[in-house]
Amino acid sequence: MRLLIGFLFAFAVAAAFGLGLTQFALTRGTAFGAITIGAWTAWPKTGTSDIDPYARAAIARSGELPIGSGDGVAFFASSDDAGRALDGRCMVTIAGTTPAARFWTITLYDLDGRLIPNAADRYGFTSQEIARRADGTFEILVAPRARPGNWLPTGGIDRYVVVLRLYDTPVGVATRTAKDAPMPAVAAAGCT
């Protein structure tokens, strides 16, 4: 009887621990092959045949098709440079320059990868349509209410992800530091 209870206990621990770990790993993302520059993280190997088993399981679960490495690379940011989670009720600025690429796009998603509804039907910018300063740098204002300049509406959602995709770019598996890939700064600019 004690043996049976022991087995049941061990199996319960195994199921809870094993499945919990899987759930955690697939929803939080793993560090395998990740490039982190400031607030931005990319997994360039996910767009190749060298994809790791965790990323394979994650894309099978979400239904996402990762961007192929011959096409481009995607950088994700869900917090600002100080590590605070991005809050759609506050204003966040994304400013500076981007790594070398033929062009780029920046898009806001909710945590499940859906576009964020807003009255302006504005979900992102491309490098071609963004307004720049005289020195070529830019500033994007991510905020719930309309702002002058490059305004990306959050629709007042509490958590969101910014995805910066570089197309036809040398940035990839070999990239290590911000010197190879200068990413724009992500800074909280107060809540209204």
């Binding site: 621990f17 899987t22 099978a60 096409d71 481009g72 509804p117 979900y123």
Partner: protein
């Protein structure tokens, strides 16, 4: 007390195995992966434009709204596949995904280096059957080997601004995908 700690330790070890097994098996059992989602709407070996993603409705998560996308769900059982994509003015890319969503090959208009991206997709077995001399005459044809007999091809054209999206969609309409006859 010691006995319970040992059971706990055994449980944790077993849990580690459960974790690894679920991670490795999950891609085989997924019912919501990209291939399954697209099977409902896109016939095999035919190219179909995907509707632009909106907040209420997107075929796949994390689609880039600045692109017009078409998908060709392929099944190489009937023979190799021919893909012909005239490039758009802005940017065109072709990405190949195996059945489980692995991006095994991607090429853009600049890497292809011409006005029309022409590719032959086949299994390694089908490639082995091509006579050698034919391979030489077809040297300017790009041959891509698919690791799985089924999968997805994504053809994407860039719309630099919302006003140029109709142009991107028109460029996409000229793409062809089908089995060789």
């Amino acid at each position: 007390m010691i006995r319970w700690l040992l059971w706990l330790l055994g449980g944790l070890l077993l849990g580690g195995i459960v974790h690894l097994a679920t991670v490795l098996l999950l891609p085989r059992t997924a019912t919501q992966d990209a291939y399954t989602r697209l099977s409902a709407t896109s016939p095999a070996n035919n190219i179909m434009p995907l509707p632009a993603p909106t907040p209420d409705d997107a075929v796949l998560p994390f689609m880039d709204p600045a692109f017009a996308t078409a998908v060709c769900r392929y099944d190489l059982a009937a023979g190799p596949l021919k893909l012909r994509v005239p490039v758009s003015q802005a940017y065109t890319s072709v990405s190949f995904y195996a059945r489980s969503g692995i991006a095994f090959y991607a090429i853009n208009d600049r890497a292809a280096g011409r006005r029309i991206i022409e590719l032959d997709l086949m299994t390694p077995e089908q490639r082995a059957q091509i006579p050698d001399d034919e391979e030489i005459t077809a040297a300017d044809r790009l041959i891509v080997e698919s690791p799985t007999p089924t999968g997805l091809i994504l053809v994407r054209t860039f719309g630099p601004e919302p006003g140029l999206m109709p142009m991107a969609r028109r460029a996409l309409a000229a793409a062809q995908c089908g089995t060789q006859s």
